[in-house]
């Protein structure tokens, strides 16, 4: 149609005619726009360049803060790291946490305190005439030499009334000397270097070898025809990684319940449902007991770039404006878990904690007693979930499982 119309409207041009365009200057607005764009580009380049250096500086600072966590004098460090268990007044908790005030250990001076901070205690200990299940974490990974020296000096000065100062350099030597000796095996081992301690209860710690039957060994390290080995994902010490959870030192009954829940389909996870499907009740119980005895240093790190201070507030105090109680009210001070229902949270991998909180909130996981965790998780924003997961990942792992199961044992016996 158009073709015919144009034919009729315009006479056909001469065959030799070459179309051309007369020269005309570029309109001024085009120049303006080009110049404006160039200026804008240059400005943005400069501006984002500034942002990049700013962000880099911030990260360097953040790292420095994380490494040295300079929280002022020993008193503040004590409040931040020790008082959740030992209480701000150093009186401890009757039957659970030994007192610092009047403790025979402190009389031995700050160097012993530093050794205990570096190694932790894992076994029964007698302080001030009372017996305790010692399950103090090692702070070697969480605190630096300077911080340990300040806490040790503060603790001995305040509760032991010995005003000997400890030099950070000496702590560095101690750290080197301690190496990877692991936790003190209860008061019995501690008494070998602290002569002022009273006679200590014997250390009956069942080692991993005791819980290690042939069946468990096969399941953990070799798997079966139709299931993979536990250790192939969770690590040979049950340390886990990213969103594969840390199992070492979890309450035995908690682990057994989770395995049974996977088997019944009460808890969702495709890989774990396959693994658990072939396990008998005896085997889930044996596996729970085995992983409860394991001790692994923390390989978790706060890697979700969340607000650690907010996480600490949630873990220690909760947020009652949201109706969220402190994590530690149920999961034990320092998040070491309370057998049989409350798993240890300290040193759990941040992605795992955050993803489980999200699963509770979204209904993907529903196997908590009384639906407690669903309510709490729904009240938390995604930033809060990340923050609390990051904070818990930054804590030192607490050797809780054995003592927790020992408590169960004694309470059953009673």
């Amino acid at each position: 149609m158009f073709g015919r119309k144009s034919k009729s409207d315009h006479p056909r041009p001469d065959e030799n005619f070459e179309p051309y365009e007369e020269f005309s200057g570029i309109p001024m607005p085009v120049y303006w726009i080009a110049i404006a764009l160039a200026a804008w580009g240059a400005f943005m380049l400069y501006d984002t360049g500034k942002d990049v250096t700013l962000a880099q500086d911030e990260r360097v600072e953040e790292r420095a803060v994380q490494i040295s966590a300079d929280q002022g004098e020993g008193g503040n460090l004590f409040v931040a790291n020790c008082s959740t268990c030992h209480q701000p007044d150093g009186e401890g908790l009757r039957g659970a946490v030994p007192p610092l005030a009047g403790s025979e250990v402190l009389a031995a001076g700050p160097e012993i305190v530093a050794r205990i901070l570096l190694r932790g205690i894992d076994g029964p200990i007698r302080v001030g005439g009372d017996d305790f299940d010692g399950h103090m974490p090692s702070f070697a990974s969480a605190l630096n030499d300077d911080e340990i020296s300040r806490i040790a000096s503060y603790v001995t000065l305040t509760f032991g009334e010995t005003d000997a100062k400890l030099d950070p350099k000496r702590v560095a030597d101690l750290r080197h000397e301690v190496g990877d000796a692991g936790s003190f095996a209860g008061g019995a081992e501690l008494a070998t270097i602290v002569t002022s301690m009273p006679p200590q209860p014997p250390h009956p710690a069942p080692t991993a070898a005791d819980a290690m039957t042939a069946t468990v060994q096969d399941l953990v390290f070799a798997g079966r025809d139709d299931v993979w080995a536990c250790a192939s994902c969770h690590g040979d010490l049950g340390q886990g990684g990213e969103n594969t959870p840390r199992l070492a030192g979890q309450p035995a009954k908690y682990l057994t319940k989770q395995l049974n829940d996977f088997r019944d389909g009460t808890r969702d996870n495709e890989s774990m449902q396959i693994v658990a499907a072939g396990l008998s009740d005896a085997e889930t119980a044996a596996l729970g007991a085995y992983f409860a005895t394991l001790r692994a240093t923390s390989n978790a790190s706060p890697n979700l770039s969340a607000d650690l201070a907010r996480g600490e507030r949630l873990a220690l105090q909760g947020d009652w404006s949201l109706g969220v109680p402190a994590c530690f009210t149920c999961h034990g001070s320092s998040g070491f878990g309370v057998a049989p229902d409350f798993p240890a949270l300290a040193a759990q991998h941040a992605p795992y904690t955050a993803s489980q909180l999200a699963a509770w909130a979204g209904g993907g996981r529903q196997n908590s007693p009384l639906g407690l965790m669903s309510q709490i998780s729904q009240a938390l924003s995604s930033q809060d979930r990340r923050a609390v997961a990051d904070y818990l990942a930054s804590l030192p792992p607490v050797p809780a499982g054995r003592t927790a199961s020992a408590q169960e044992g004694t309470s059953n016996a009673e």
């Binding site: 080995a229 969103n243 495709e270 396959i274 979700l304 907010r310 795992y352 930033q383």
Partner: protein, 215 residues
Amino acid sequence: MNRYLPLSILALAILAFATLMLVIAPGIQIDARNVPEGLRNYTQAEQNGRDVYVAMGCVYCHSQQPRSPDQAPDGERGWGRPSVASDYAFDAPHQLGTMRTGPDLLNVGARLPSEGWHLTHLYQPRAIFDWSIMPAYPFLFERKDRAAPSDTVVTLPPAYAPESGVIVARRDALDLVAYLRALDRTYPSPTDALRDDGYASGPAAEDPNASEGDS
């Protein structure tokens, strides 16, 4: 338009400028970065596995670039911290990918270090996830009546196991799994790391509470 010389000079100049800004300048910027502490080169087996990864076109469905928390909840998915340029020091060509039909794999070795799991999953993803849309790779495996001592037998649920004999992994499958297990960039990112700070920089980053109020 018959002034060919200025036209071609201008075209080449534009190309040269783009090459300078998009290839040469970033190249200089990246070359100055050191290999981060905690990253090692691939072994021969892992390198072979990487070639299998490339040949199978894994990159079309799997990215290898965890994003920052401002952009996606990759950290909570267990996919790892935001990656930085030096994380790819030994990856040539990199397998960044753009599609996320499947999960990001840059840290799959950290969250799923099990060789057995990966072999099962490569042989038949539906054996583990009945909803999975990932293709199966049975041609990386072979059925044998009896496994030789050096063979790696694939763990399979009864529904997917062969009627008789066993499924063993070929060299390619083992190498691919070795490569997947080597994908672990969970070491802390270097403080001088080059990365896209995107919307994270600026006022929001200075006041974390401000961003909390937004969502």
